[in-house]
């Protein structure tokens, strides 16, 4: 049984600068989404339990090949990538179609793991969409996954309750950021990662028939930071401020 992990490359959010409230992505390096690293770790742990391979799938621009090196170094066995600068900025429905096409090319799929939300868009739409396209059962917001032969037991962590669910494989799971602590690859692992097998496709290689954007962005601005930014030197001073603003002694 193979485990598929979907990982997205995102711009390093700490390095995005705002110019006139417009985010500038020029020269900002790409990184793996944080929760996607938890998805990978969950996949690696399942492999340690029940064997098979961990296969990455990702869609993005040409940089994806380099970005995914870190994930291969951390222990993924293979990668199926769609590299296409024209497909760099897909929205959820298009990404889902492309990922589903990749997953169809993989044999003996057991669990398909996604992050609960991507690092930049964080909307949690791609995993459930892929589950629907492939007609698979799904459990989102997982805090625990356990495979027993042909079924898996997954804990879905909701705001007010945990649900323990069982489904036949193959199935789709999206994981929470606190499901595990991702391992960090060593330098030797990173050096060797370039040699791991990769299947690389261009958008035109797949039958994706991307139906055009279902969602487009009209504007995207940083909110205005209108904070006063007054330096406060002591607790006494802080209390006078709180008193002046009416928060103390009401």
């Amino acid at each position: 049984m193979n485990i598929v992990v979907a990982m997205k490359q995102i711009p390093d959010l700490q390095q995005i600068r705002m110019r006139n409230r417009q985010p500038s992505l020029d020269g900002v390096p790409y990184a793996l989404g944080l929760i996607d690293k938890n998805a990978l770790e969950a996949g690696l742990q399942l492999k340690e339990q029940s064997g098979g391979k961990v296969i990455l799938v990702s869609v993005g621009n040409e940089e994806v090949e380099e970005t995914m090196k870190e994930a291969l170094a951390a222990g993924a066995d293979e990668a199926y990538l769609v590299l296409d600068d024209d497909l760099a900025d897909l929205e959820s429905s298009q990404t889902a179609v492309a990922l589903a096409e990749l997953i169809k090319k993989i044999d003996d799929v057991g669990v398909v793991i996604f992050g609960e939300g991507s690092g930049d868009n964080y909307s949690g739409q791609v995993g459930p969409r892929v589950a629907e396209i492939l007609g698979l059962p799904q459990v989102g917001c997982a805090s625990h996954i356990e495979v027993n032969g042909a079924t898996a037991r997954v804990t879905r962590s909701l705001e007010n309750a945990d649900e323990i669910l069982e489904a036949e494989l193959p199935m789709v799971v999206t994981v929470l950021g606190d499901i595990n602590e991702p391992r960090i690859p060593s330098v030797t692992q990173i050096l060797k990662a370039g040699k791991k097998p990769k299947q690389i496709f261009a958008g035109s290689d797949l039958e994706i028939g991307l139906a055009g954007r279902a969602v487009s962005t009209i504007s995207n601005l940083a909110p205005e930071n209108a904070r006063k930014r007054v330096a406060v030197g002591s607790v006494d001073e802080l209390i006078s401020v709180l008193r002046a603003e009416g928060f103390v002694g009401r």
């Binding site: 711009p11 964080y122 739409q125 629907e132 705001e159 006063k228 209390i239």
Partner: protein, 310 residues
Amino acid sequence: MAAILVYSDHEKLAPELLTAARLLAGGKGTGIKAVAINNAALAQDLAGRGAETCLINDAAILAADTAAVASALCQAAEKLDAAIVLLSSDRRGKELAGRLAQKLGAGSLADVSGLKAEDGKVQCTRNTLGGATVAVQQIETDKAVIALAARSFEAAPQQAGGKVSELAVAATAPSVRLIETRSKASEAVDLQAAEVLVIVGQGVGKEDFPVAEKIAKILGGEIACSKPVATDKKWLPEDRIIGLSGKKCKPQLALIFGVSGQVQFTVGIRDASTVVAVNNDENAFMLQMADYAMVADAKEVLEELNRALG
């Protein structure tokens, strides 16, 4: 004109969706329909708030089975001639949104905090880039599935009357089995209603929590935290998390101790009226996002504040 359908299994959030639906309909005679699944009380409640409500009663449709719920709602949308489906953006609703949208061939967005009808399309306001920016995004498809963030709209008020009709859908074979549900013990705090929040981050030690909590009490507010304090350290329950994956709050005052101020956190207090931040690193981003910024040791400030206010 096609109708707007609202659905959430969450009793507090479903009435908020009704208000959003009315705003989108803009009094243009667009029908507003609500669906409840295996929850007669919720159906009655929504009907009482003025929605044409349908109850799907079918024990084979398990709330935990996203595929089954999506299939039921897809059939409901078709039968009720709805083009726009509004869901709640809690964990259940976000997960459902993607699956339902794919079934309907609809564009979908989650964590949406504002809505506008524009030339027959729906424009949604939501955070992107991890919370660093606020985007307006338009759904281009004829059908739309939108999950709305809690508290973005007031709950629709109760009116007189209201009738529930039954709706039958074909249940699909179950895709998951529910083994067990374990409710999470927590005293159900309403952070979004608090006027004052005392927020602690990883720069605050566990031993300082009682003091922080006491200060919150004295100021008439609640204690809250950054994400790692709850998810990694488990010092506070997860429903106290402020930020992108926690709560977005609009308190009068946010007193923030030992939080570095990454966007995924600050998005949660962006709408606070007054922000006070205490951090021992003068370069901490949190200090730039504050009205009153104090470079100091959080423990010492908490103790001194407690002595002075207590």
